[in-house]
């Protein structure tokens, strides 16, 4: 099932995959986010094997409301709260701009921190 919009001439369906694609673009340019992660270790393995482009992004509709969960790795030494807030804003803004449906929730799950920032 996807988000529905009723138009005069028919119905437009936006699939969760499409929403996830937009969300992943927003995450790629989100400052402080250095990677995506899966919810579980098995998921992480599967994602590595399949090279899932929507790795770390889950889109669901609950009571007809759009909820996006993102699982991210954040750069150590940044303020995690600020980075996460910016992620929420960026994902919500980009999805709403592209799809035109309101995003009910964006949940950011910080799955890890990247400590490494070795000198080249």
């Amino acid at each position: 099932m996807g988000e529905q919009k009723d138009e005069n001439l028919g119905t437009i369906l936006v699939s969760p995959t499409a929403v996830a694609t937009i969300a992943s673009q927003a995450l790629l340019t989100s400052y402080g986010v250095v990677g995506m992660a899966s919810k579980t270790a098995i998921g992480e393995l599967a994602a590595t094997l399949t090279r899932d482009p929507h790795h770390g992004i889950e889109v669901h509709y609950k009571d007809n409301r759009l909820i996006i969960d993102v699982y991210v790795i954040i750069q150590h030494g940044t303020r995690i709260l600020s980075v996460a807030n910016s992620v929420i804003n960026a994902v919500r803004f980009q999805v709403e701009k592209a799809v035109g449906v309101p995003v009910y929730q964006v949940n950011v799950h910080v799955q890890g921190l990247r400590m490494m920032d070795e000198r080249d």
Partner: protein, 556 residues
């Protein structure tokens, strides 16, 4: 700020911890002078808040960390700056700024003082770390400006070891880099702005340069006086002139022609009426000319001429004088346990006072440019001695934080009534029954808030074309329920136009909340005109004290 004398024109070859401390403070002070122009560059209507404010708050947090420090070791001071910036980082720009400080601190951690080579190393390491914290760096942003600035420092250091000369070239390059950001990033070009974060960074560096050159930064106390003076500066060197008002009675009066003629004689013109009676209000330097013109058109009545220079002086004395009467502090009303209390958000002291007088439990300071965080709202909810709370965000940018806060509070029932404007919030508050059923009360408040029309009058921060209206930067604009519907150069005319578009004819009460930039006298003059325009309406005037918005208007 304590200031060490640095002879102008002399070269500076090293920088220690003490100097870095003052440079950071100087940069922050200069950012403070300019953050509003940075805010004006915002492109995305995201509730991230404003870039200038975010950067300023981040730098303030950094400066707080080094405030009491008396350490000549630059490595230690830089580390503290980073710690402060990290803890206070707000928004994307703040996080990037903290990474620049982080790299700088790492590069100089073992140095007691740095020379030109150390400066270059610090800037370059800052840029390197800042680029590391994002998967796909976007060019045309603050990152680009920081990188090009650091490149320039390296180039300049090949020719000179004078830190001032190097910083001078860095700032100049940053300005060029900022100018170029729209070429690199389409969203900036579409909006007709340059990158806000890059601009903020440039101001920060420029503040440091100004300090080194002994140029003024107009910090703290001076800034306040400056703001007051600029708000009160006469419109030209001839002073404020005279406020002239009169009625023309006659037959077959041509309102449009008379308005055009009067407009040519002065400013703040308001000419309204019909072919038999016209009300004229205008500010001029030569009242005789306007009076003579009026008398040539018909019979003059109720002529009022006021010397506005004298008014201005009186106003300055009252406002800026040392004996300014202290107003009673704003006190929240007592809230009984078990009753329903409202938490709301409002900019400006006047509006906060109004909300409290209407029974709000907590009023959080905030609004268009300063969005309170979820944490601020949670804190306000928890501070109330009751477990039933209704949040009125009064701004669509705060809605999300309010909803998050409602979810985060444990052990209390919290509802959000999604008011988007101050008038909606005030109307909703009138329907608050502290002893009712929480959901029923929330519903009643929601319905009540829908009955009010909101008008807002502010100044456009950039050129734009919206709803078929062309707006130039600096023009006065009127918004009806967030929709642009009136544009003009004269404040009062825009208010009149806005009220027309708001269709207030069928309504009864118009309330004007005047902002911090409006004097009580100006507001009264406008209210009097509105009384004449809308003789069957009740017109109320309240001090709102909000920044940026000259007037917030509610009509119901």
């Amino acid at each position: 700020m304590e200031r060490e004398f640095i002879p102008s024109g002399e070269a500076l070859h090293t920088c220690n911890g003490h100097l870095l401390q003052r440079l950071a403070q100087a940069g922050t002070a200069w950012l403070e002078q300019n953050y509003e122009s940075v805010n004006a560059l915002n492109v995305f209507p995201v509730p991230d808040g404003d870039t200038g404010t975010n950067m300023l708050l981040t730098m303030r947090s950094a400066c707080k960390e080094i405030a009491g420090l008396n350490d000549p070791h630059i490595g230690h001071v830089a580390q503290q700056l980073y710690n402060g910036a990290l803890m206070g980082a707000r928004g994307n720009s703040g996080v990037i700024l903290s990474q620049l400080w982080r790299g700088f601190a790492r590069a100089v951690e073992k140095d007691a003082a740095i020379d030109s080579e150390g400066l270059v190393r610090g800037l370059q390491e800052g840029v390197r770390l800042a680029y590391q914290a994002v998967q796909t760096p976007v060019e045309g942003t603050m990152l680009t400006v920081a990188r090009e600035g650091a490149e320039e420092a390296a180039l300049a250091a090949q020719h000179t070891h004078d830190l001032i000369a190097i910083l001078d070239r860095v700032v100049a390059r940053c300005y060029q880099s900022v100018e170029r950001t729209p070429q690199l990033l389409d969203v900036l070009a579409e909006a007709g702005v340059v990158d806000a974060g890059g601009m903020g960074l440039t101001y920060l560096l420029e503040g440091m340069l100004r300090y080194l050159r002994g140029e003024p930064l107009e910090v703290a106390a001076a800034a306040e006086v400056g703001a007051l003076q600029s708000a009160l500066t006469p419109e030209d060197e001839q002073g404020y002139g005279y406020d002239v008002q009169y009625l023309i009675k006659g037959q077959g009066l041509d309102v449009d022609r008379i308005r055009a003629d009067i407009e040519a004689m002065g400013w703040s013109t308001l000419v309204v009426g019909d072919s038999n009676l016209i009300k004229v209000h205008v500010h001029v330097h030569n009242p005789g000319e306007v009076i003579g013109y009026g008398a040539s058109q018909g019979v003059l009545h109720d002529v009022v001429i006021e010397n506005m220079d004298a008014q201005y002086e009186r106003f300055v004395q009252e406002r800026g004088g040392p004996h300014m009467p202290e107003r009673e502090p704003i006190a929240p009303p007592p809230i009984a346990e078990g009753t329903i209390a409202a938490v709301t958000v409002a900019p400006g002291e006047g509006l906060r006072r109004i909300f409290y007088s209407l029974g709000a439990g907590r009023v959080i300071s905030g609004g268009q440019t300063m969005n309170p965080s979820t944490g601020d709202i949670v804190e306000a909810i928890n501070s109330l001695p009751t477990d039933k709370v209704i949040i009125l965000p009064n701004n669509k940018n705060i809605l999300m934080a309010a909803e998050q806060a409602a979810q985060q509070v444990n052990g209390k029932q919290v509802r959000v009534v999604p008011t988007q404007t101050i008038p909606q919030g005030i109307s909703a508050l009138l329907a608050l029954d502290p002893h009712g059923d929480l959901d029923a009360v929330a519903k009643a408040m929601q319905e009540m808030s829908a009955t009010v029309q909101t008008g807002e009058v502010t100044r456009s921060t950039r050129d734009a074309k919206i709803n078929g209206l062309k707006v130039k930067k600096g023009q006065v604009i009127g918004l009806h329920n967030d929709r642009l519907c009136a544009v003009g150069d004269d404040l009062n005319s825009v208010v009149v136009e806005l009220l027309k578009k708001m269709n207030v004819d069928d309504l009864e009460l118009i309330t004007l909340y005047y902002g911090a930039d409006i004097t009580p006298q100006e507001a009264r003059t406008l209210a009097e005109h509105l009384m004449e325009l809308y003789p069957n309406h009740e017109i109320e005037l309240r001090e709102g004290g909000q920044a940026h918005y000259y007037y917030i208007i509610s009509a119901e």
